[in-house]
């Protein structure tokens, strides 16, 4: 039986820290480093950049991350798998090759494409979020199917040092190198489910080692400023041990692993990825020494016949304005400020929202009946079809300086363009993935 494979998580979202990935790369004794960097909206924004310039559309941090990580991958002998290709994995592969040329490294890169299904999505396709069809949201700017391990395996089998994808289900980024290493059949649903469970635990990186977990005095986590990212050692049956590099911040614990196991799972008895439908109800998590937790017991129930597709559309502009009040009666002066803006803007915007930061802004209402905050900020937000109209929101809030309640300070105004996302399904047979290979060898006479 082949030894366990060690897979590390090098990023949990597009803008994640780079230094914990470098620590893992240098001291983690990794076989694979996987970086999950592609949010739902990120791919739509990338598609817009590609439309402007066909050589763009990959992750803006690709070069910064790969410049540091690829030389470490070559030195320590691990492979990199990432969805940083975003809307243009082939161009991303070219960037990695250009870096290899500059750094004098021999590097092979495989780009996985085929997730872009914009041409195949009909406007009458029903959306998954409720009633209605894709066409109700205007002209889509992007439509990307969530690819699974089937698309990634041929790329890994080229022997590439770096595999770059666009839209892939997050756990599949981790499952693919595990399934490849142990030579699992994709129809071995229990093993595929256990590998998916490991991928799901790792995909948010620091959220497994104490990020998004700490609560001082209740759930303390040491040294969060230098949070270590996690890895998993996965054996041939898919049983795994979670860990992190000694001396890094954070903590691997059963309580944290439970939170992450259930994170964003809408169906714990039937979690769907392109590869498998997983039942998490039999999962066991146990402490296994310092900074080690074992995970076992996920089971699989077949694979979905359809793939999920994220469709991006232009959703207009949002205008925002904020101003703050402090001291006696701050809450009532803030309320008055909000009422003034509402009266002046009412009827000009389809949707408007007034928040009292310090009281109601996060949950829509306060759960504290006797609240008396020392300071409160009013925030007004409204949706508009043009940026000019959206600007009016911040202008009205700013005008409260001289026309509103006493003591208003620190006004700010913002306008942002919105990309909306709706989802639909596509038959998996209609999605065809491809692999393109790029190679650079400084010692070869020709490439």
């Amino acid at each position: 039986m082949k030894r366990s494979i060690r897979v590390g998580a090098g990023a949990g979202f597009q803008g994640d820290r780079l230094d914990p990935a470098l620590v893992l790369a240098e001291r983690g004794k990794l076989d694979v480093l996987a970086l999950e960097c592609l949010g739902e909206r990120t791919v739509a924004l990338a598609q817009l950049r590609r439309r402007e310039d066909p050589s763009q559309g990959y992750d803006p941090l690709l070069e910064r991350r790969m410049r540091r990580l690829v030389p470490l991958a070559k030195r320590y002998g691990f492979r990199i798998v990432t969805n940083m290709g975003a809307a243009n994995p082939v161009a991303a592969a070219d960037v990695v090759i250009a870096l290899a040329r500059e750094q004098g490294l021999r590097v092979k890169v495989a780009a996985v494409t085929g997730d872009d299904v914009l041409a195949q999505i009909r406007s009458d396709a029903p959306i998954m979020e409720g009633r209605g069809a894709i066409g109700d949201y205007g002209e889509p700017v992007s439509a990307n199917a969530y690819l699974g391990v089937e698309a990634l395996l041929p790329a890994l089998q080229t022997g590439a040092d770096v595999v770059i994808t666009g839209r892939v289900a997050d756990p599949s980024l981790f499952l693919a190198p595990i399934a490849d290493w142990h030579d699992w059949s994709l129809d071995d649903f229990d093993r595929i489910a256990r590998g998916t469970c490991v991928g799901h635990l790792l995909e948010c990186a620091g959220q497994l080692t104490g990020g998004y977990f700490a609560d001082p005095g209740r759930k303390d986590v040491p040294d969060l400023a230098w949070l270590g990212f996690p890895f998993a050692d996965v054996d041939a049956d898919g049983n795994a041990t979670l860990g992190k590099v000694e001396g890094t911040g954070g903590r691997i614990s059963v309580a944290n692993a439970k939170e992450q196991l259930l994170y964003e799972v809408t169906e714990p008895y039937g979690y769907r990825t392109p590869d498998v439908i997983v039942d998490f109800s039999g999962v066991t998590l146990r402490e296994a020494g310092p900074e080690r937790v074992t995970v076992a017991g996920a089971t699989g129930k077949g694979r979905p016949a359809q793939l999920k597709v994220s469709v991006g559309y232009l959703a207009g502009f949002v205008g925002e304005g904020e101003i703050g009040y402090a001291g006696p009666n701050a809450l009532n002066r803030a309320r008055l400020a909000g009422e003034i803006v509402r009266e002046r803007l009412e009827g000009q915007f389809g949707e408007m929202r007034i928040d009292l930061i310090g009281s109601t802004s996060l949950n829509g209402r306060s759960f504290d009946a006797n609240e008396n905050p020392y300071e409160v900020r009013v925030r007004v937000a409204a949706r508009a079809s043009t940026s000019e109209l959206a600007m009016l929101v911040g202008e009205e809030v700013e005008a409260l300086y001289t026309n509103g309640p006493a003591g208003g300070g620190g006004a700010r105004k913002y306008v942002t363009e919105q990309i909306g996302i709706v989802s639909t399904l596509i038959d998996r047979e209609r999605v065809e993935s491809r692999v393109s290979v790029r190679e650079w060898n400084p010692h070869a006479e020709t490439v």
Partner: protein, 100 residues
């Protein structure tokens, strides 16, 4: 009356306009009390005005956890919500304020 905060921890996740709240007992022996008291109805009442749709509850006895899947809870969904906390990340602690 114990606060949920004293017995359990919670993490919030999101999918579109759905908020997913994972409630996990610190101690195994408190899990039956959560199953009994932390009903769909109790959560709906506590989060009234926030969760506009149905709430589904899944029991995970092996993890001493309850999973609440709350539809129409994020102002139309992360990508187009006007809310500051468009992901509803802070709803975990709104739920933990519940008195059992």
């Amino acid at each position: 009356m114990p606060k949920l905060y004293d017995l359990a921890h919670c993490r919030a996740g999101d999918k579109g306009d759905t908020s997913i709240l994972s409630v996990i007992a610190y101690r195994e022996e408190d899990y039956p009390l959560l199953v009994e008291r932390l009903t769909r109805e109790a959560v709906a009442k506590h989060l009234r005005g926030i969760v506009q749709g149905e709430i589904e509850r899944y029991e995970l006895p092996g993890l001493h956890a309850l999973q609440f899947v709350c539809s129409h809870a994020l102002g139309g969904g992360v990508t187009t919500s006007l809310a500051l906390d468009s992901h509803g990340k802070s709803l975990s602690y709104a739920l933990l304020a519940l008195e059992l």
